[in-house]
């Protein structure tokens, strides 16, 4: 544990990628093997289930610090991270412990089944005994979400440096379902391919947004276009008569989409498809909002399946007849995919993402203009001779989204941010004008946004909010309606869950309209007019 806490301390003490990689690769060289496995698990967000709920954590931390709970809560809102708050607040006598990271994690798995009394005793003892970074790491392991400025990519690079194994190969090895409790470092990282690859997905190839005029991409004849679908990116694997569905977040979501079970038997074994999970209510592509009703549901009821079925818009073929074909060109892979698609009856949830070829970039632009009516977010541009790469790489695939919809709205509520924005009011709620039955105009909340301003602008708004707070509701403050912001969003749909009756997709701040008074902000009916 000491070693791992020291690693986190070192990572915390630099902003430089090279130094972070160096610290990580040193750790991967020196740490005990099982600690390495757990570190990889933690840094790739595979932690054991949370052994203690956060309410209890807060209560006990406040008790140990001898402060009232409300004071702990206030501090937490300001610090912006629960583990950090606890590490800062509880008193410590600083004697460190000799237990390894692995021991701690095994204890946490054990802890989950203990009584509240035993849990409390365990936590208090460890909080007292660890130093600041030990306590921070220990509590982070309990609360989960170990985000400390180390991406999976960075970790993979460091592991590659420490082991001499190629980064892309490592990325593949680390994907999918493996259990840090039972797997050894030898099996996970060092061993040649002897494990069960049955459910293993491939790392997704991700695109960057087009940087300048698309004509810079060269002759249009070298490119194919597809619409960019707004669902959940997924890999569907059929091997040995079993189906596995992986989301882009490396989450196994097979059970959530029972529709795809029908593909087993139809699609030959040894096939991996790359595509998009899309909602398909009433026989047409729905909005992301429709898909929301499927995400996060543990039990998929029959009525939900009928109301909001899903399809798979398939756009690439990564494995065919048990062979990894990512090295073939896009066109070669598409040919195989299209041939496969022709053999599949149209009663399956499989739909082909059309490959479009254009004779000029203007034609491409025209196609992009049809995106909203086709329920897509814009276009994907794919180079005909490109292999299927690993991770986000520039050059062969680009996304060219449609311009967002925009509306001018009034800032009404603010909350402090988290992480690097802790203690700064950066999470805002925006409202639009609405006329009630008596003809009175009132502001109605329609969206929250917390990105789009520069750091300097955030500081200005933060200072203004602190001086213009009307009321406090826990971490939230209502502010004098005064500032108008232009809000951009990708899509819009009617919604019963929102007070405004409208749900917007990925709202963010486009700019601060200092030139506008709140009376000039848009109305809710302006917003509703944008619904197609």
């Amino acid at each position: 544990m000491k070693q791992f806490a020291e690693l986190i301390r070192t990572l915390d003490g630099t902003n430089k990628t090279n130094l972070k990689v160096k610290a990580l690769s040193n750790y991967f060289t020196e740490a005990p093997n099982q600690d390495k496995v757990w570190s990889i698990a933690i840094l790739s967000h595979r932690r054991p289930p949370r052994p203690v709920n956060t309410t209890l954590l807060r209560t006990w931390a406040a008790e140990l610090a001898n402060i009232p709970l409300w004071l702990f809560e206030e501090s937490y809102h300001i610090v912006g991270d629960l583990a950090e708050t606890i590490a800062l607040i509880v008193p410590a006598d600083g004697q460190s412990t000799g237990k390894s990271l692995t021991q701690f994690l095994e204890e946490m798995i054990w802890l989950k089944k203990q009584t509240d009394g035993d849990k409390k005793e365990y936590l208090l003892k460890n909080w007292r005994n660890l130093d600041y970074y030990g306590r921070f790491v220990f509590t982070k392991l309990i609360t989960g979400g170990f985000r400390i400025g180390v991406s999976q990519k960075l970790m993979t690079r460091a592991l590659s440096k420490a082991t001499g194994i190629d980064e892309d190969i490592l990325a593949y090895k680390l994907m999918g379902n493996w259990d840090p409790k039972t797997i050894s470092f030898q099996q996970l990282v060092l061993e040649e391919n002897q494990r069960d690859y049955l459910s293993k997905p491939y790392p997704f190839y991700l695109a960057y947004a087009v940087e300048n005029d698309v004509s810079h991409l060269g002759p249009v004849s070298e490119w194919s276009m597809e619409h960019k679908w707004d669902g959940i990116r997924a890999q569907v694997i059929i091997r040995n008569n079993e189906l596995f569905v992986w989301s882009r977040g490396e989450e196994l979501v097979t059970d959530k989409y029972p529709e795809y079970q029908s593909l087993v038997g139809i699609i030959p074994n040894g096939t991996v498809l790359d595509g998009e999970i899309l909602p398909y209510p009433n026989g047409q592509i729905g909005t992301f909002n429709d898909l929301q009703t499927r995400i996060g549901r543990k039990n998929i009821s029959k009525s939900l399946l009928e109301k909001t079925p899903v399809i798979l818009k398939v756009y690439d073929l990564l494995e065919w007849k048990g062979k990894d074909i990512r090295g073939l060109t896009y066109l070669e892979r598409r040919q195989l995919l299209e041939k496969l698609y022709d053999t599949v009856s149209n009663t399956t949830p499989l739909f082909l993402s059309q490959r479009i070829q254009c004779t000029s970039w203007d034609e491409v632009a025209n196609e992009r203009d049809t995106s909203r009516e086709k329920k897509s977010e814009g276009l994907m541009l794919k180079r005909n001779d490109s292999p299927y790469q690993v991770g986000r790489k520039k050059g062969d695939w680009w996304k060219w989204k449609v311009d967002p919809l925009t509306i001018d709205a009034v800032l009404t509520y603010a909350m402090r941010g988290h992480g690097r924005r802790s203690n700064l009011f950066t999470d805002y709620t925006f409202a639009l004008w609405n006329q009630d039955q008596d003809g009175n105009r009132e502001l109605v909340t329609f969206a929250k946004a917390y990105s789009g301003l520069t750091d300097a602008e955030f500081r200005q708004v933060d200072a203004w909010i602190k001086k213009n707070t009307l009321e406090r509701f826990g971490p939230v403050r209502s502010v004098t309606p005064f500032h108008v912001f232009e809000i951009a969003f990708e899509g819009i749909a009617p919604s019963k869950r929102h007070k405004s009756g409208v749900a917007t997709r990925f709202p963010r701040i486009l700019r601060w309209r200092k030139d506008k008074k709140i009376e000039e902000a848009n109305t809710l009916s302006d917003l509703k007019k944008l619904i197609v």
């Binding site: 915390d12 003490g13 630099t14 902003n15 430089k16 610090a65 402060i67 009232p68 409300w70 004071l71 702990f72 206030e74 501090s75 300001i78 610090v79 912006g80 991270d81 950090e84 708050t85 800062l88 607040i89 400025g149 941010g417 988290h418 992480g419 690097r420 924005r421 802790s422 203690n423 700064l424 750091d455 500081r459 933060d462 200072a463 602190k466 406090r472």
Partner: protein
């Protein structure tokens, strides 16, 4: 309380019987000033009264003003009200102001800390009825380690940076923090260079306190000379073109705000050192207790939270709005930027 000894007005804290203001934020006839930071000693008063050691600081910042210096603990009377200045331990020349009238005693702290930093005259608790306190770091999440531990971390950081072939750039406010850092850096590790704003303020303080020698970075300073050495600079220089001369460098910041990981990451600083010229949570509570005051007024910082807690533990505590900038410390950086320009 019908006629409080000290009132909070639009112009600042006002002592009506004496007709004098304490750290006013608008121009007034007569002002008693706790210390030299911009939000406490402002421009435009007819007359300034402050501690001797603060006189050169105010003159440096505000130019030729009508100012007179006083000694620690020596009382002076204005219109029948007895005033005296007592060390606040915040920065060199920083005072608490004791006000006594008709048997009632009020103390106004300005900014203060209770740890002896080896530079500012250490904080001295003053018995009073009403204690007006800052609470910039009035949250239990703020708990400082002893200065000795923090400065030894800083010196170790410098040694490591030097070994890696990097120049160390350490940010601290040009008045106060910069000199505190200078005082405790180990000159045997290397040479200490300064930014102009830091150098000027340090020159002002050299006659008052003993500080190691420094070298101002000028157009003629060579990159090679800086390598492996230490540079003390105001926070506003981070991200400026000036700092490019230090390449390859690593950055550090010494501030109470560095207790929060998010605060450090937001500023894109490599290393944060938690070193503050304000009290931490326990420091505030200890200071309040040592005054014996029953009434507490919180002026800036986490005032709502801190005063609520004080009421829970039995004090008659409330908040008053001032224009001192505790919670808005981010703004200090903007302000300092203007000052250094």
């Amino acid at each position: 309380m019908k006629n409080p000894l000290l009132k909070f007005t639009d112009q600042g804290i006002y002592c009506e019987p004496a007709k004098v203001f304490l750290d006013p934020w608008k121009p007034v006839d007569k002002a008693i000033i706790t210390h030299g930071h911009a939000d406490h000693s402002r421009w435009g008063h007819q007359k300034y009264i402050t501690h001797h050691n603060n006189v050169p600081i105010v003159k440096h910042r505000l130019g030729a003003v009508n100012i007179s210096g006083r000694d620690w603990g020596k009382s002076f009377t204005i219109n029948g009200v007895k005033f005296s200045l007592h060390p606040a331990g915040h920065i060199v020349g920083s005072s608490q102001i004791r006000v006594e009238h008709k048997g009632e005693v009020w103390v106004f702290t300005g900014d203060y800390k209770i740890e002896d930093d080896g530079l500012a005259t250490p904080f001295e608790p003053i018995r009073c009825n009403t204690f007006i306190t800052e609470c910039t770091f009035g949250l239990p999440a703020f708990q400082w380690r002893p200065q000795q531990e923090v400065v030894s971390d800083i010196n170790q950081w410098w040694v490591n940076n030097k070994a890696n072939g990097h120049t160390s750039v350490l940010f601290g406010y040009s008045l106060g923090k910069a000199q505190r850092l200078l005082k405790h850096l180990d000159p045997s590790i290397g040479k200490i260079y300064t930014h102009g704003a830091v150098e000027n303020m340090t020159e002002v303080l050299r006659p008052i306190v003993d500080l190691p020698s420094t070298e101002l970075i000028t157009k003629d300073t060579k990159k090679e000379d800086l390598l492996g050495n230490m540079v003390i600079a105001p926070p506003s220089s981070h991200g400026s073109t000036w700092i490019r001369k230090m390449v390859p460098y690593v950055t550090g910041s010494a501030s109470g705000w560095m207790a929060f990981r998010g605060a450090r990451r937001r500023r894109a600083i490599d290393k944060g050192f938690v070193l503050s010229d304000h009290c931490d949570w326990d420091g505030l509570l200890q200071a309040i207790k040592s005054t014996g005051a029953e009434k507490i007024i919180c002026t800036h910082g986490y005032t709502e939270i801190f005063s609520k807690y004080l009421r829970e533990i039995g004090y008659d505590a409330r908040t008053e709005n001032t224009q001192y900038e505790g919670e808005l410390a981010e703004i200090d950086i903007e302000k300092e930027k203007k000052e250094t320009e």
